[in-house]
């Protein structure tokens, strides 16, 4: 298996809920595409959240009072079926949802998460941050020192992956002050802009990110507007 096609959906600036809906359509397409013929059942959804939202995974979210406080600050709240604890998504952040078939790739779940880390590390090296590193669980993610640059949280059902990673490009990091990101006390967050000392938007990183994606997941990217085609 090599160089299989992966459809790329670049949503641009969209609300988080819309990215989740596009992802759902991709997951349906991936499940339906379990055929011997090489249709591009796999996809990767790229978006930038248009509005601030706090999202948490399986292990639960904030208490009612804490949730109300976050809502008062103007953020949405979302419980999603993925690994990882509470984190923030908002403008200036690249959200990447690879919808891949791990059975076809003969990749165990742990190996897939490591591949995501490798992907981000390769991108960081390309982008001028060779000091980025991945840490073992429970600190899964990509870090610059003690600050997390990229959060990872995935879901796998019937060997189809969803959710993925959130890379801070020029995210307003003060949003993270109101939570304990990923439940890790004493750790900070950072962004590409902060680390490189210049304003990096999501559009700047798309090309090098997709190049790294193509390398790490050994695929051919097919650009498309609609997960159904």
């Amino acid at each position: 298996m090599s160089r299989g096609p992966v459809r790329v959906l670049r949503l641009g600036l969209r609300p988080y809920a819309e990215a989740l809906r596009a992802q759902e359509r991709c997951v349906e397409a991936a499940r339906a595409a379990r055929l011997p013929v090489p249709v591009p059942g796999e996809s990767v959804v790229l978006s930038e959240p248009a509005e601030p939202v706090y999202a948490w995974g399986l292990r639960g979210g904030p208490e009612a009072e804490a949730a109300a406080r976050l809502r008062r600050r103007g953020a949405g709240l979302a419980a999603v079926r993925r690994g990882g604890r509470i984190t923030f998504h908002g403008p200036g952040q690249l959200l990447v949802f690879p919808v891949l078939d791990l059975r076809r790739r003969r990749l165990p779940l742990r190996g897939y998460v490591e591949a995501l880390e490798t992907l981000v590390l390769r991108f960081c090296r390309r982008f001028g941050l060779p000091a980025a590193r991945a840490l073992p669980p429970p600190f899964t993610g990509v870090w610059m020192g003690d600050s997390k640059l990229c959060a990872i949280g995935v879901h796998c059902g019937n060997h189809i992956t969803s959710h993925g990673l959130a890379l801070n490009c020029c995210t307003d990091l003060t949003w993270f002050d109101h939570i304990v990101p990923c439940g890790l006390e004493g750790k900070g967050v950072t962004s590409l802009s902060r680390e490189l000392g210049r304003h990096i938007t999501v559009d700047h990183v798309l090309e090098p990110f997709l190049d790294s994606f193509q390398e790490v997941f050994d695929c051919t990217l097919v650009f498309s507007e609609d997960p159904g085609d």
Binding site: R110, P137, G153, V154
Partner: protein, 179 residues
Amino acid sequence: MAWRALRRVGPVLAPRCPRFSLLLLPLPPPAPPLPPRVPAARRLATSSLVLSARKFTDKHEWISVENGIGTVGISNFAQEALGDVVYCSLPEIGTKLSKDDEFGALESVKAASELYSPLSGEVTDINAALADNPGLVNKSCYQDGKMSFLSFNNEYHMASRYHKWLCNSYFFQFNDVEA
């Protein structure tokens, strides 16, 4: 290039006879490597009767049935592939499940994966220890880490679909005859 290597070792390989000292004996082609085989028994079987009743699905859940009550868990292969399990959610007692329904989820390495019911039935009990100690799934996936108990109201057929796991893994070929 291999022939040059052979030429260097040729005199060693050739029979000890001056007339044939430079004869290059071609080495037989190396045998194709055997597929990697994990040793058949990794642990002592505590109960061969339980072992013989445990059946595995293609999603690496196992079920062993006694007196109409099925015990469900995930295989050693699955717990290794997941990594350290940090969270396990199981259904409420009394939930009725159809075959392949999602019956819970595990979280490990920032990854949430669904669990699918191997058969249809009603949940009669769950392993409450997993709520506080989800690592039991890794440490003892067949004993202390087993997950839930299903009762079966109807006749079920297990022979054809769910057989003792034998070289049928979609990750790679291996023999999993765990205790």
